[in-house]
C-alpha cells in the first residue's frame, strides 16, 4: 500500500556488512594495518632510515619486507571483503512480493521500505523485522525460536488504527534472519529495515579470541624490544667511549659531519643500531603466523575423515587464528542433546502385561505394510508383538491405546494419510509413532476430542481432562470418554511415581515389570511405566465439577488442582512399561575414552534433568560403575518458600554447599588442605594482569560429581566458587544438569579464570552459544538444531566423534608446528642479529652491518621463509594413526612444553652461541691471511659474503635437524632456497646488476666462493654450531626420552596400527535409569485452551516457526 510519493523517504532495507569500497580500501586498510604495533614499528624504522645521519641501512631493507607483509595482509583483507560484498549483493537482490497500490509486485530486498506490507512464502527468509498481520496456517502453535541474545526477544510498540491504540509485543514480530517453515504464506508490515533490524543491530562486535601463544608472543616481542634497546644502549655507550679515545683521532681521515660532536654521534649511533639490529623483532613474524594458521585451517577443512556424508557436511575451521590452541585443550565442556546424543528417540522395547518385547538378535525388521498409516521410518525387530496386537490381545490394545491418547502431541496432515507429529519432546513423538505403527493411529485432536484410528476403525474419544506433566508430578494423565461411554484415566510416568499409585492387585505384575525395567536400565534406555483406571460416571461428574471450580479459582489454583490430580490418580492398573533409547552419536564413548587418555577433562553441561544426564553419563562412559563415588549436589526447592526465606535460605545453603564440597573433598583426598592453594601471579603485557591459579590436587581413586543448575547458581557466587572449583577439579567427571545457557558460560569462565587452562566448548544449539563464545575454542555441531551454535563457533563439524581427530591430530600437529616455527624463527633471527652485535666491537661501533644490504632484505623474506613455512605446514612427529594409538602424545601441549619462556631463553642462548661461532670463526679464519693467489681476502665485501654464506648454511642445517617429516615440499623448499641464495648471489654480483647498482657488492661471489679456505671455514662453523645441538638432543633422548621420542621410535620400527574397530561398549548395570519425559512443563494447557478454538478463522496469527537460518553472515 505504498504511495508513490512516499518512496525514498524512509530508510530502505539494504544492508552493508562490507568494510571497504574500491576508493576507501587503500587508505582504510593501511590505517588498520598500521594500528598493529609491529607494523607501526617498522614504519617508524623506515622513517628513521630516511634520515641520512642515522641511516645505517638503505631504506629498501625495511621497505621491501614491509611492503610484502602489508600486501599479503591487504590481499587477505580484500578477499574477505569481496566475499562480504558478494554476500551483501546476493542478500540485497533477493526478491520479495510487496503490496503496492493494492497489487503484489516483486521487489528487491534492498528496495523494501519501512511501512511496506510484504508477503512471504514457505521456506523464505524473513526480509526485515515484520509485524505479523496474517498467515495461511490455522495452527495454534507459535514456535518462535529467537537468537540467543536477550535483547532480541523484547519488543514494545503501539499500533494506532483509527485513533485506537493496540499494543504490540514480541509474539507478533518476525525478525529478519529467520526462515518461514511449514507455512504457506503470511503477510507482514515492515517495522525495521536493513541496518535497523534486530539482527544487524545485534551482530555487531564478536569477541576477538586470541590464543595463549599470541599472548606469550606479545610478551616476548615486548621483551625483545627491551632487549633491543639494551643492546643499542650498550653499543652507543661503547661508541661514545670509542669516539673519545680513537674516533677523535681518526677525524683526520673522516671528519665529523658539521654540527655533530662525539656525544651527539653516539646518540645517533643508538638509532643507527636500532635499525641494524631491528631484525630481532621479526617483521614477518605475525604474517607468517597467520599464514601457518590459515594453512592448518585448510587442512581441517580438507580432512575427509571429518566429513560426514549423511548430511554432506565437511568440517570447517571458521576461525583461522586459533589452531595451535587445539593442541593445548585441558577442559572440554560439552552439551548433551544433539552433541553426545543424536536427539533421536527410538521406541526399542516394551513390557506388556509382564511380557517383554523388543530387539532380538538376528531378527528381521518388522513389516508394517498392513497398516496404511504406518510411519515407514519406524523400525522394530520383534514380530511377536505385532502378532500379539493383531490377534487382539486386550492388554496390548490398551497399551497402545494409552500411547495414542495420553500425550500432548499435535498432528499435522497436509495430505491424506501423511501424518506428521509435532511433539514437544522427542520421547513423546517416539511413543506416539510406535502406537501409530502398531495400529493405534493418533489422527487429529480438538480441545474436546481425540480421533484415533484403532486397527483401521475410526474412534473419537471425548477428552475430559489433561492432567499435565510437571517436574514434581513426573507423570501425565488424560481422562477420556470412549464412544461407548466408558470413562478411563490413562497415565504414564516415572516408575517410582506410578508404582506408588497402583492398585495392590498389581503387585505380581509389578515384580515382573521391575525386572524388565532393570534390564532396560542396564541397556541405558529411558523408561516410562503405563497404567490406567476405569472411572465411574458419578464420581467423574462430581470430580469434573470440582476440577472446573479449581481451575477457575483465583487463589491457590495450583494447589487445589494438585490435590484433585492426586486424588484421581490412584489405584490404577499397571499396563506395562516402555523403553526408549536416547541414541548416542556414533563413537561417542570411544571418543570420550580417548580424550580421557589424553588427560582432557570432560564436563557435560546440559539443560536436561538429572536422571537423563546421569543416564547418558553412564551410557557414554563418563560415569562408570567402578568409580569410587558419584557425588550428587542437588538442592531442590520450591519457588515460593525460597522467596519468603531468602535470607535464612541463603545462609543455610551456603553452609550446605560448603559442607557438601568439603565432605566430598575429604573423601577424595583426606589430607588436602582446608584452604585452596592459590598461586597468585602477574602476567600479560607489562605484568598488569593479575592471575590466580588453583593448583591441581592429587586424588586417590576416581570420582565424579553431578551438580544441578540450582545448586550451581549458589555455588557460582563469589565466596563459594573457589570451593566449587577445587572440589570439582578433583573429580574425573563433572556433569552439570538443568543449567541455563548463562550458567554454562559462567562455568566456563570460572575454569578459565582460576585454572589458566585452555578450554573448549562444544554444542549444537542456541543454548550453547554463550558457552561456545566464552570458551577459548568453541566448536559447533552442525546438526539438527539450527545453525546458531555453528555461526558463533570457531570450528564446526557434524559429529561429536570428529573432536578426537580435531584435537589429537590437527590440534596436536598445529601446536607442534607453531612451536617449531616460533622456536626456529626466533633462533634464525637472533643468530642473524647477534653477529652484528659482535662486529660492532671491530668497526668502532659505527653501526656497520656485517651482511650486505640485499642479503639483509632477502634473508627473512626469501631465503629462509619458505623452508620454515614448509616445516610449519607439513611437519608431523608421527602420523594420525599413531596419534590415536597414543593419546598421551597430547600432554606436552597442555603443559606448554614446546614453546614457553624457558624454551625462549634456551633458544636465545643457543643463538648467542651460534652467532659467536658464526662471527669469530670466519674472522679468525681470514683476518690475517690472503687468498691462494696472494691477493688480500679480508676485505669487507668478501667477509660479508663469507659470513652470510656460513649463516645461511648453518640455519638451513638447523632447519633440517628440526624437520621430522621430510616431504617432497620440504626438500624442494630447503634445497631450493639454498639454490636461490647462490643464484641470487651470482646474479646480484654480476655485470648487469652492477651497472644498475654500482655500489652493491659486485663480483664477490665468483671471487670468493671459489676459495677452499672459505669452504673449509663453512664446514667448520657448521660442525661447531650443529654438533652440540645434535649431542644434546641425543643425550636427552637416551636418558629421558619424551613420550614423543618413544612413539617416534616405535613408529620407525613397526607398521602403523590399524584403526581399532569401534565396538559398542556393553555395560552391566544395576542402576535404574531416568524416565522418558522432557524436562519442561507440557503442552496440556495449550491443547485444551481457548486459543485452540480460534484456529479456523483467517484472523489467526498462528505460525510454525522453527528455524533460524543464517542469511547474513
Amino acid at each position: 500500500m505504498r504511495g508513490v510519493d512516499e518512496e525514498k523517504v524512509k530508510a530502505n532495507n539494504a544492508i552493508r556488512t562490507s568494510k571497504y569500497n574500491i576508493f576507501t580500501f587503500l587508505p582504510l586498510n593501511l590505517f588498520e594495518q598500521f594500528r598493529r604495533l609491529a607494523n607501526a614499528y617498522f614504519l617508524f624504522l623506515l622513517i628513521l632510515q630516511m634520515i641520512p645521519q642515522v641511516s645505517s641501512l638503505s631504506w629498501f631493507t625495511t621497505a621491501v619486507p614491509l611492503a610484502i607483509v602489508l600486501s599479503i595482509t591487504a590481499a587477505k583483507d580484500a578477499s574477505d571483503d569481496i566475499n562480504r560484498h558478494k554476500c551483501d549483493k546476493q542478500v540485497n537482490n533477493r526478491e520479495v512480493e510487496v503490496l503496492i497500490d493494492g497489487e503484489l509486485k516483486k521487489e528487491k530486498w534492498m528496495d523494501v521500505q519501512v511501512g511496506d506490507i510484504i508477503k512471504l512464502e514457505n521456506n523464505e527468509f524473513v526480509t526485515a523485522d515484520l509485524l505479523l498481520l496474517s498467515s495461511s496456517e490455522p495452527l495454534n502453535l507459535v514456535y518462535v525460536e529467537t537468537p540467543p541474545n536477550n535483547c532480541l526477544d523484547k519488543f514494545k510498540g503501539t499500533l494506532t488504527v483509527n485513533g485506537q491504540a493496540y499494543s504490540l509485543d514480541n509474539d507478533r514480530v518476525l525478525l529478519r534472519g529467520c526462515t518461514l517453515r511449514n507455512t504457506e504464506w503470511c503477510f507482514g508490515l515492515v517495522l525495521f529495515g536493513g541496518p535497523d533490524t534486530k539482527l544487524m543491530q545485534n551482530c555487531g562486535k564478536t569477541v576477538f579470541k586470541r590464543t595463549s601463544i599470541d599472548h606469550l608472543m606479545n610478551i616476548l616481542v615486548l621483551a625483545i624490544f627491551g632487549f633491543l634497546a639494551t643492546m643499542c644502549a650498550i653499543l652507543s655507550i661503547c661508541n661514545a667511549i670509542w669516539e673519545a679515545n680513537e674516533g677523535s683521532a681518526f677525524t683526520m681521515f673522516l671528519p665529523r659531519e658539521p654540527g655533530v660532536s662525539g656525544s651527539l654521534s653516539s646518540f645517533l649511533t643508538f638509532w643507527s643500531y636500532v635499525i641494524v639490529l631491528n631484525t630481532v623483532v621479526p617483521i614477518s613474524l605475525y604474517v607468517s603466523v597467520e599464514i601457518i594458521r590459515l594453512g592448518n585451517s585448510f587442512f581441517i577443512d580438507w580432512d575427509r575423515k571429518m566429513y560426514y556424508p549423511k548430511n554432506n557436511t565437511p568440517a570447517q575451521a571458521r576461525t583461522t587464528t586459533l589452531n595451535e590452541e587445539l593442541g593445548q585443550i585441558k577442559y572440554i565442556f560439552s552439551d548433551k542433546t544433539g552433541t553426545l546424543t543424536q536427539n533421536i528417540m527410538t521406541f526399542n522395547k516394551c513390557s506388556i502385561n509382564g511380557k517383554a518385547y523388543g530387539k532380538q538378535l538376528g531378527e528381521r525388521v518388522v513389516d508394517f505394510s498392513w497398516n496404511q498409516l504406518a510411519d515407514s521410518k519406524f523400525i522394530f525387530h520383534d514380530h511377536s508383538l505385532v502378532e500379539t496386537v493383531r490377534e487382539g490381545n486386550p492388554e496390548a490394545h490398551a497399551f497402545f491405546r494409552l500411547l495414542a491418547l495420553c500425550h500432548t502431541v499435535m498432528p499435522e496432515e497436509k495430505k491424506e494419510g501423511e501424518l506428521i507429529y509435532q511433539a514437544q519432546s522427542p520421547d513423546e513423538g517416539a511413543l506416539v509413532t510406535a502406537a501409530r505403527n502398531f495400529g493405534f493411529v493418533f489422527r487429529s485432536r480438538t480441545p474436546e476430542s481425540i480421533t484415533v484410528i484403532e486397527m483401521g476403525r475410526k474412534v473419537v474419544y471425548e477428552l475430559v481432562a489433561v492432567l499435565d506433566f510437571n517436574n514434581i508430578r513426573k507423570r501425565m494423565s488424560v481422562i477420556v470418554r470412549s464412544p461407548k461411554g466408558k470413562t478411563t484415566l490413562y497415565c504414564k510416568g516415572a516408575d517410582t511415581i506410578i508404582y506408588e499409585r497402583l492398585h495392590p492387585s498389581c503387585s505380581n505384575l509389578m515384580k515382573v515389570t521391575t525386572d524388565h525395567l532393570n534390564m532396560y536400565a542396564g541397556d541405558g534406555l529411558r523408561t516410562l511405566v503405563l497404567a490406567f483406571k476405569n472411572l465411574e460416571e458419578n464420581y467423574m461428574e462430581e470430580w469434573r465439577k470440582r476440577h472446573n471450580e479449581a481451575s477457575t479459582a483465583m487463589e491457590g489454583r495450583e494447589e487445589r488442582l494438585e490435590e484433585l490430580y492426586e486424588e484421581i490418580e490412584k489405584d490404577m492398573t499397571l499396563l506395562g512399561a516402555t523403553a526408549v533409547e536416547d541414541k548416542l552419536q556414533d563413537g561417542v564413548p570411544q571418543t570420550i575414552e580417548q580424550l580421557a587418555k589424553a588427560d582432557i577433562k570432560i564436563w557435560v553441561l546440559t539443560g536436561d534433568k538429572q536422571e537423563t544426564a546421569e543416564n547418558i553419563g553412564y551410557s557414554c562412559n563418563i560415569l562408570r560403575e567402578e568409580m569410587n563415588e558419584v557425588f550428587i549436589v542437588a538442592a531442590n526447592t520450591a519457588g515460593g518458600v525460597r522467596r519468603e526465606l531468602q535470607v535464612n535460605f541463603d545462609i543455610c545453603h551456603w553452609s550446605f554447599f560448603s559442607h557438601a564440597f568439603r565432605s566430598a573433598r575429604r573423601k577424595m583426598c583426606p589430607d588436602a588442605a582446608e584452604e585452596p592453594s592459590v598461586i597468585k601471579a602477574r602476567a600479560g603485557l607489562f605484568w598488569l594482569k593479575k592471575t590466580e591459579t588453583v593448583q591441581d590436587e592429587k586424588v586417590n581413586g576416581e570420582y565424579a560429581m553431578l551438580i544441578n543448575g540450582h545448586s550451581l547458581a549458589f555455588a557460582l557466587e563469589e565466596d563459594l566458587e573457589l570451593e566449587l572449583l577445587r572440589t570439582v577439579c578433583m573429580c574425573q567427571t563433572v556433569i552439570c544438569c538443568r543449567v541455563t545457557p548463562l550458567q554454562k558460560a559462567q562455568v566456563v569462565q570460572l575454569v578459565k579464570k582460576y585454572k589458566q587452562a585452555v578450554t573448549l566448548a562444544i554444542g549444537d544449539g542456541a543454548n550453547d552459544v554463550s558457552m561456545i563464545k566464552a570458551a577459548h575454542i568453541g566448536v559447533g555441531i552442525s546438526g539438527q538444531e539450527g545453525m546458531q551454535a555453528v555461526l558463533s563457533s570457531d570450528f564446526s563439524f557434524a559429529q561429536f566423534r570428529y573432536l578426537e581427530r580435531l584435537l589429537l591430530v590437527h590440534g596436536r600437529w598445529s601446536y607442534l608446528r607453531m612451536c617449531k616455527f616460533l622456536r626456529y624463527f626466533f633462533y634464525k633471527n637472533f643468530t642473524f642479529t647477534f653477529v652484528h652485535f659482535w662486529y660492532a666491537f671491530f668497526c668502532g661501533f659505527s653501526a656497520q652491518t656485517v651482511y650486505d644490504e640485499w642479503f639483509i632484505t632477502l634473508y627473512n623474506t626469501v631465503y629462509t621463509s619458505l623452508p620454515v613455512l614448509a616445516l610449519s605446514l607439513f611437519d608431523q612427529d608421527v602420523n594420525d594413526r599413531w596419534s590415536f594409538q597414543h593419546p598421551q602424545l597430547y600432554a606436552p601441549g597442555q603443559q606448554n612444553l614446546y614453546f614457553s619462556k624457558k624454551a625462549f631463553v634456551n633458544l636465545t642462548v643457543l643463538s648467542c652461541y651460534s652467532s659467536l661461532v658464526l662471527f669469530f670463526v670466519p674472522w679468525a679464519a681470514i683476518h690475517d691471511t690472503v687468498r691462494d693467489d696472494g691477493k688480500d681476502i679480508a676485505d669487507y665485501q668478501s667477509f660479508a659474503l663469507f659470513a652470510q654464506t656460513c649463516l645461511l648454511i648453518v640455519v638451513s642445517i638447523q632447519m633440517c635437524l628440526d624437520t621430522y617429516h621430510w616431504t617432497a615440499v620440504n626438500n624442494l623448499f630447503i634445497w631450493g632456497s639454498l639454490a636461490a641464495y647462490f643464484a641470487v648471489t651470482f646474479t646480484m654480483y654480476s655485470n648487469g646488476i652492477f651497472v644498475i647498482l654500482p655500489s652493491a657488492f659486485p663480483f664477490v661471489g665468483q671471487n670468493t666462493l671459489n676459495l677452499p679456505n672459505v669452504w673449509l671455514t663453512i664446514v667448520l662453523t657448521s660442525l661447531l654450531c650443529i654438533l652440540p645441538v645434535v649431542a644434546y638432543r641425543f643425550i636427552s633422548m637416551q636418558i629421558r626420552p619424551t613420550i614423543n621420542d618413544k612413539v617416534r621410535h616405535r613408529a620407525r620400527k613397526e607398521l602403523p596400527p590399524t584403526p581399532s574397530l569401534r565396538r559398542p561398549v556393553r555395560r552391566v548395570s544395576t542402576r535404574r535409569s531416568g524416565y522418558a519425559f522432557s524436562h519442561s512443563k507440557g503442552y496440556g494447557d495449550l491443547v485444551t485452551s481457548q486459543r485452540f478454538l480460534m484456529m479456523r478463522p483467517v484472523k489467526s496469527q498462528a505460525m510454525q516457526f522453527s528455524h533460524i537460518a543464517p542469511t547474513e553472515s
Binding site: 680513537e246 683521532a249 681518526f250 673522516l254 671528519p255 643507527s272 580438507w302 580432512d303 575427509r304 566429513y307 556424508p309 554432506n312 565437511p314 575451521a317 571458521r318 583461522t320 671491530f842 668497526c843 668502532g844 659505527s846 656497520q848 607439513f874 608431523q876 670463526v921 679464519a925 683476518h927 691471511t929 690472503v930 687468498r931 691462494d932 693467489d933 696472494g934 691477493k935 679480508a938 676485505d939 669487507y940 665485501q941 667477509f943 621430522y964 621430510w966 617432497a968 654500482p998 655500489s999 663480483f1003 677452499p1012 679456505n1013 673449509l1016 671455514t1017 661447531l1024 645434535v1030 649431542a1031 641425543f1034 643425550i1035 633422548m1037 637416551q1038 636418558i1039 626420552p1041 618413544k1046 617416534r1048 620407525r1052
Partner: protein, 352 residues
C-alpha cells in the same frame, strides 16, 4: 572456507582424497638414533683430524715475515716529522734492515699492513662514489653527496676520486734490497695484477676518452686533498695504470673488514737470478718513502712478506681449529657412547 565446488550430489562437499589435502604425502622420517649418531660423530672426528693434520702440514710449508717500520730504526725520524701536518709536503725516506733465516720458496708476495686503521667505519665506507669510479661523466663533475666533505674543494672544483676512502689512500712506497756477497741487489717487484680481474676491468673504469688524453679527461677536477699527485699520474711508468684503474688505488678502495689488515703491494719478479726460486735466505733492507701518517689513529705500519699454499696464505687458525674440533667431537662421541651404553642400549627407556 574452501571454495565451493560446482559439482552437486549427495557428496558434493566431500574433500578431495589427495595425499596433499589428507596430509598423507610420502615422507622420510629420520631420527637421531645411536646407529646413525655415534658412527657419524666418530667419522667426523676422524675427518676433522685428517683435515687438521693436512692443513697443518700445508701451513708449515708457507712462510711469513712481518717488519713493523712505524718508528723502527731511522723511520723514527720520519714518524716524528709526520706528526706535524705542516710538514706534509716534505719528503722523508728511511731504511730498515732485516734478515731471512730460511729461503722463501716459490711466489713471494709483499704487503703493506696497517693496524688500528678503521676502513670499516660506516661513514668512511659510504664516503665514495662508485658511479664516478665507473667512469660516469656526470658523477665525475658532480660527485655523490656521500663523498662529503671530500666531494669538492674550497673552490667548488670536484674531487676525483672523491670521498674519504680515496683521500686516505696509503702512499708509502718500498724498495727492497738483497745483500749478497757481491753487493746489494734490488729485489725486482711486479706492481701490477694486484687486483681482482673484475675490479680492474669491470668495476672501475676511466671516463670515456674519445681521443683525449687522460689528463684532459680529468680536466675540471682536482686531486684529493691528501694526495700529492693527481689520479692520472699515480703510476709514472705505465700510463695505462693510471686514473681510476690504478692497481694501488683499486687495492685501497677494496675496504678491509677489520681494523688490522694488509694489502697487496706487489710480488716478486722471478725471471732473474738469484730470485728464480723465491727469496733466498740472507740480509735484506727495505727503503721506505714514509708519507702515510699513523700517529693520528695510534696505528702501526708494517711490511709483510709471505708465500702461499693451495689454501691461501699462512693461517694457523684453521688447522688448529680443525684439530681442536676433532678432539672435541671425539670427546663428545665418547660421552655419547657411554650415555648410550648406560641408558639407551637395552631400549628400556624407549619402550613404553
Amino acid at each position: 572456507m574452501g571454495k565451493e565446488k560446482s559439482k552437486s550430489g549427495p557428496l558434493a562437499r566431500r574433500p578431495d582424497n589427495s595425499a596433499f589435502k589428507q596430509q598423507r604425502l610420502p615422507a622420510w622420517t629420520p631420527m637421531l638414533t645411536a646407529s646413525t649418531v655415534l658412527p657419524s660423530f666418530y667419522l667426523l672426528a676422524l675427518i676433522c683430524m685428517l683435515l687438521g693434520v693436512w692443513l697443518l702440514l700445508t701451513v708449515q710449508n708457507t712462510q711469513e715475515m712481518k717488519v713493523d717500520y712505524t718508528e723502527a730504526g731511522s723511520c723514527n725520524l720520519c714518524f716524528e716529522m709526520r706528526k706535524n701536518v705542516s710538514n706534509a709536503g716534505q719528503k722523508c725516506t728511511c731504511m730498515i734492515m732485516f734478515s731471512i733465516e730460511k729461503a722463501f720458496k716459490g711466489d713471494v708476495f709483499i704487503y703493506y699492513g696497517l693496524r688500528n686503521f678503521h676502513q670499516n667505519l660506516r661513514r668512511y665506507m659510504d664516503s665514495r662514489d662508485d658511479g664516478q669510479m665507473l667512469g660516469r661523466k656526470s658523477n665525475l663533475k658532480s660527485p655523490s653527496s656521500y663523498c662529503k666533505p671530500f666531494d669538492v674543494d674550497e673552490k667548488g672544483v670536484p674531487i676525483a676520486p672523491c670521498g674519504a676512502v680515496a683521500n686516505s689512500m696509503f702512499n708509502d712506497s718500498f724498495i727492497l734490497t738483497y745483500y749478497t756477497i757481491n753487493g746489494p741487489t734490488v729485489v725486482p717487484l711486479l706492481r701490477k695484477g694486484l687486483t681482482w680481474y673484475t675490479d680492474k676491468n669491470v668495476k672501475y673504469r676511466n671516463p670515456k676518452m674519445d681521443n683525449l688524453t687522460l689528463p684532459e679527461v680529468f680536466e675540471g677536477t682536482t686531486r684529493p686533498p691528501y694526495w700529492q699527485k693527481p689520479v692520472y699520474q699515480l703510476d709514472p711508468f705505465d700510463p695505462n695504470n693510471n686514473g681510476f684503474i690504478n692497481d694501488d688505488l683499486l687495492v685501497w678502495m677494496r675496504e678491509a673488514a677489520f681494523p688490522n689488515f694488509k694489502k697487496l703491494y706487489g710480488f716478486l719478479y722471478r725471471a732473474n737470478k738469484p730470485f728464480t726460486k723465491g727469496l733466498p735466505a740472507g740480509n735484506y733492507s727495505v727503503a721506505i718513502s714514509y708519507n702515510f701518517p699513523v700517529q693520528y689513529f695510534k696505528g702501526r705500519k708494517e711490511v709483510v712478506l709471505t708465500t702461499v699454499s693451495w689454501f691461501g696464505g699462512q693461517n694457523h687458525f684453521l688447522p688448529i681449529a680443525y684439530l681442536v674440533t676433532s678432539g672435541l667431537i671425539l670427546l663428545t662421541a665418547v660421552v655419547l657412547t657411554v650415555v648410550w651404553w648406560k641408558f639407551g642400549k637395552d631400549g628400556k627407556n624407549m619402550a613404553d
